[in-house]
Symmetry: C2
Subunit: 226 residues, 2 copies
């Protein structure tokens, strides 16, 4: 059997990237990358990253501190003086949880590591339509960034950025994850709590609706659960 090509998968600890990881593992030898940047639930997300990568027996893992995103601020996720938005998704504006240009930082780290490892693909679990409306989650951004990667790296580096759940609905992502036996119980999505998910931030609302629409129970604990 030919040796599998190497890929880096970004694993935030949330449900979309866990399903993306399961998809990447079908065809690639995967190194898993996580980044933290002073967001409120940083330690809970690092735990989720460790739990998920341990579940899959991934040997090559890297967790990066992007502390300059905290210095820069400008987001409810990194500035404790800005309240996390709750009360439902508002599709007409960029939510205050948008961390300016965050995915460019995550992808740049993945690209640098990919050049050192000789990887040929980078998997990222972004979702374009059925999500929060962050500008750095759009396919047009990924395409332009991929072009910049090809122009700005060594001639022998040949990297594709793959976003396999980009155009799925959140319910389709849950179904795909169930098919692939993704350990959703190890994932974490809530923007503000670390023991029981709040159920009211945008990220919880999207997740709860995803499981409901897909017809499955979400296995993580929520505030107010029995």
């Amino acid at each position: 059997m030919p040796k599998k090509q190497k890929a880096i998968c970004l694993v935030s600890g949330g449900m979309d990237s866990a399903v993306t990881l399961a998809i990447a593992l079908e065809k690639y030898d995967v190194a898993a990358m996580h980044a933290y940047y002073g967001q409120l639930t940083q330690d809970r997300e690092i735990k989720a990253f460790r739990d998920i990568t341990n579940h899959y027996g991934i040997n090559e893992t890297m967790a990066f501190s992007l502390s300059h995103l905290t210095q820069i601020g400008g987001s409810a996720l990194t500035d404790p003086d800005i309240d996390i938005h709750t009360g439902g998704i508002d599709k007409t504006r960029i939510p205050n949880t948008y961390v300016p240009f965050r995915n460019a930082h995550l992808l740049s780290a993945a690209v640098s590591w990919a050049e050192v490892l000789g990887a040929s693909a980078i998997f990222i679990g972004i979702v374009e339509e059925d999500s929060s409306g962050y500008p750095d989650c759009r396919e047009s951004f990924i395409e332009a960034f991929n072009k910049a990667v090809n122009e700005g790296t060594r001639p022998e580096t040949n990297l594709n950025i793959i976003a396999p759940v980009m155009h799925l609905t959140k319910a389709e992502i849950v179904r795909k994850g169930m098919e692939l036996n993704v350990p959703f119980e190890l994932t974490w999505s809530c923007y503000q709590n670390t023991e029981k998910a709040c159920g009211v931030c945008d990220s919880c609302i999207l997740r709860l609706k995803a499981f409901e629409d897909a017809g499955f129970d979400d296995p993580i604990p929520y505030e107010g659960d029995e």
Copy 2:
């Protein structure tokens, strides 16, 4: 007089970015950004950044730690086990001082900060032809990255990346700096020393030739000087 627009200028501490800063200051209200990433001469470069921005009386400055570039390694600048290349510029290969995709990290930080500050331009002192041959110093990279910036940021963010010395020779950069009274004595270029420049690393060789070709004395101390 109309209020000047805001720009962020990347200031490494070296000669090209010091001249770029002087050019940016002619038309913009400038915030200065520096990034360090465990490179051998990190502290000397931060000192140069502080000295240059103090010289110009710049109030808004930010120095970011990109420590994940040290974790990733793969460069003689960030891995002490790899010797800095000396003995002359070899145009046929990417030098071992290339830090994988570094300029994408620097520009991403500038873009994130620009979104928070409401800046309209980012100045970067990269040089394409007459330099070390790093892939992330090419105009094609900057153009592609600028496209990714426009796709991946808020709709109201409208940022141009400006690289005013991109196509100058190093000697032309020195002459331009002399015209603008750039304090070259405060800059630092050497890749390996922090008190007297080595004179033999690629960066020193490019700098010494720049001053010689331009017909000026380089004001910084070199090993072996009287």
